[in-house]
């Protein structure tokens, strides 16, 4: 009898959906589908809006803007080559520094160097580096970092000025402080993805390496690094993507000077910083040219990010 009752009760809970339920289900499905479509349309709309505004500039000044080197609103000459150069140069410098540190820290955190608790603390510290807003890094760069590295820069400039990288003195803002801050900002990205790559190495490989009698670093350099190489490369490319699009720290530290120089102490400019500085006061033609610069930046970052995502996908690391 009791069994029968409970069966009846369960039947009363599990019943076929009513027509109203089905209708609600339909509506819910359509609603979610609409928003799924919206994200595709949003991206298309962003590309259309920025691209559309850039067309007048391309019509008027042609693609020569890409190789022009002067930016003069009054003379109506616009060239963004120095900015393209500055964007790539600062990002590459940041990538070399941040990548080197990021991968080393990933090794340090995944190869049993530290007790568990210290590992967690260090990982949190590195992750918190990514949480600090870039404008705060900019402020810190202006008032803390630049005064500290100035004597170092002067030393390199006076003693090694024959090397093109040190051919000018650091007069305040410049490429080096900007790249240094940028490298701090991409370090967490590189470190996090590289850690995933190291963790994805099968235990058997690690054990086989140690079983052969390797020292810790022989195992790391000859076995782990090559095995994780794909993921690390993906991490570096995504870090580069992040550096290319970074704006505030660069706008505050890079010096906003329209020149192409190999010297790391010379002031320079980047596409994102150009946008940040010139947009608020720009007239109509200038806006169009700035939209063109935005397009170039968009194209570069899209390419780099897609490449990075593709590499990560290929290596099969779960993010």
């Amino acid at each position: 009898m009791a069994e029968y009752n409970s069966l009846q009760r369960s039947q009363s809970i599990s019943k076929p959906p009513t027509a109203g339920d089905m209708l609600a289900n339909r509506a819910f499905r359509v609603l979610t589908l609409v928003f799924t479509w919206s994200i595709v349309l949003l991206l298309a709309y962003i590309l259309y809006k920025i691209g559309g505004r850039a067309i007048p500039a391309v019509k008027e000044y042609g693609l020569g803007m890409l190789v022009g080197t002067t930016w003069d609103v009054n003379a109506r000459t616009f060239g963004i080559l120095p900015e393209i150069w500055g964007t790539l140069y600062s990002s590459l410098l940041a990538l070399i520094l941040g990548g080197f540190f990021g991968v080393s820290i990933a090794i340090f955190l995944t190869q049993n160097f530290l007790p568990r608790i210290l590992e967690t603390i260090l990982r949190s510290i590195i992750e918190l580096l990514a949480a600090i807003p870039s404008v705060v890094y900019g402020l810190w760069g202006i008032f803390v970092l630049i005064p500290i590295i100035r004597p170092v820069a002067d030393f390199f400039n006076t003693h090694f000025s024959w090397i093109p990288f040190f051919s000018t003195s650091l007069s305040g803002p410049g490429m080096f402080p900007a790249a240094l801050v940028l490298s701090i900002m991409i370090l967490p990205t590189v470190a996090a993805i590289s850690q995933d790559a190291f963790r994805a190495i099968p235990h058997k490989i690690t054990e086989a390496a140690y079983g052969m009698g390797t020292t810790r670093w022989e195992a790391i350099l000859r076995v782990m690094l090559p095995t994780a190489a794909g993921g690390i490369f993906g991490a570096l490319v995504l870090g580069l993507g992040r550096a290319l699009g970074e704006t505030m720290a660069l706008a505050m530290l890079v010096g906003n000077s329209n020149q192409i120089s190999l010297s790391v102490f010379a002031p320079a400019n980047t596409l994102a910083a150009l946008l940040a500085l010139n947009f608020p006061e720009a007239g109509d033609t200038e806006i169009s040219v700035l939209m063109f610069a935005a397009c170039v930046l968009l194209l570069i970052t899209l390419l780099v990010n897609m490449l990075g995502a593709l590499i990560i996908n290929k290596t099969g690391i779960k993010r």
Binding site: S14, M22, T215, F279
Partner: protein, 295 residues
């Protein structure tokens, strides 16, 4: 014969002795020390930033900075109450837009039709959007909202921030929904739930901690963003009026850091301290929720 065997043995036995100072052991020690040093060096910026914020910003933090308006150039005193309100307002708008947007799209992607073509395309678009430089979100909001409304406004700033938040919310919500155990989903369907009922009554409540983690992280990121607000919300010395230029903490820091007046620079440090505290607290909240989730 026995001689041959022992020779063979010697040939096969590797040298198992390890000297503490043979080159490869030394290499290992040196490299370990190097990485240790690099890890220490990598921690320096965080502590340097925090100490400077506490030292230079902490000096200037008084009760006044939270409710006063910015002072004029040569004046002393003043605060950034309007910037705090502006930041909260714009992040609020951005959350109101991006949270429902992201979660609804994630539901479709993760549960309703994960294999469909549109799901693949949308998920790709979300990944592309998550790599969008933040300044380009500002450029877009300028072209789409500011030019349309004819004025810089808090709305434009909020929309620019929303564009940056949507992919984060969506991708983390998708992961959280996928993490809900399959038996639960099947049990709901077996009881006669429609997919919508299963989602709203069973799956979403279980996935909520994961979703909130993502939302809080996105909010923390948006609160610190400067570039998208530079020419959408601009800046203002007055209290919030949503249809006009609006102050925010991030833009205030940027504007004041370039000024030659010590009072403004002090205010920039104080504002940085407030902003970093806000972002860190949000990060801690999201970690706490993320750790507590049981699924």
């Amino acid at each position: 014969m026995s001689e041959q065997a022992s020779q063979k043995n010697e040939f096969h036995l590797p040298n198992l002795e390890r000297q503490p100072f043979e080159p490869r052991a030394l290499q290992s020690i040196i490299l370990s020390t190097l990485t240790f040093c690099m890890a220490i060096i990598a921690c320096i910026p965080l502590f340097s930033v925090l100490i400077m914020l506490l030292y230079r910003g902490g000096k200037r933090i008084t009760f006044e900075v939270f409710y006063a308006l910015p002072s004029t150039a040569f004046d002393v005193g003043g605060g950034f109450g309007n910037a705090i309100v502006g930041t909260l307002f714009m992040v609020g708008i951005a959350s109101l837009i991006s949270v429902p947007f992201g979660i609804l799209a994630a539901i479709y992607l993760a549960e309703l039709a994960p294999e469909s073509k549109i799901a693949t395309v949308a998920s790709f678009c979300a990944k592309v959007l998550s790599g969008l430089p933040s300044i380009l979100a500002g450029v877009f909001a300028y072209a789409a909202v500011v030019l349309l409304m004819g004025s810089y406004s808090a709305w434009a700033g909020g929309i620019a921030l929303a564009i940056l938040m949507v992919p984060t919310v969506m991708l983390t919500a998708e992961e959280a929904i996928k993490m809900v155990p399959q038996p639960m989903k099947e049990a709901a369907a077996g009881m006669g739930c429609t997919p919508a009922q299963a989602m709203l009554k069973i799956i979403l409540p279980v996935a909520v901690p994961g979703i909130i983690t993502g939302v809080v992280l996105a909010v923390a990121r948006a609160a610190g963003e400067t570039a998208p607000l530079l020419f959408t919300a601009l800046f203002s010395d007055y209290w919030l009026r949503p249809n006009e230029p609006t102050a925010s903490l991030a833009v205030l820091i940027y504007n004041y850091s370039g000024m030659p007046f010590p009072n403004q620079i002090e205010l920039a440090w104080a504002a940085s301290l407030v902003l970093v505290l806000l972002v860190f607290i949000l990060n801690l909240i999201s970690r706490a929720i993320g750790r507590r989730k049981t699924v």
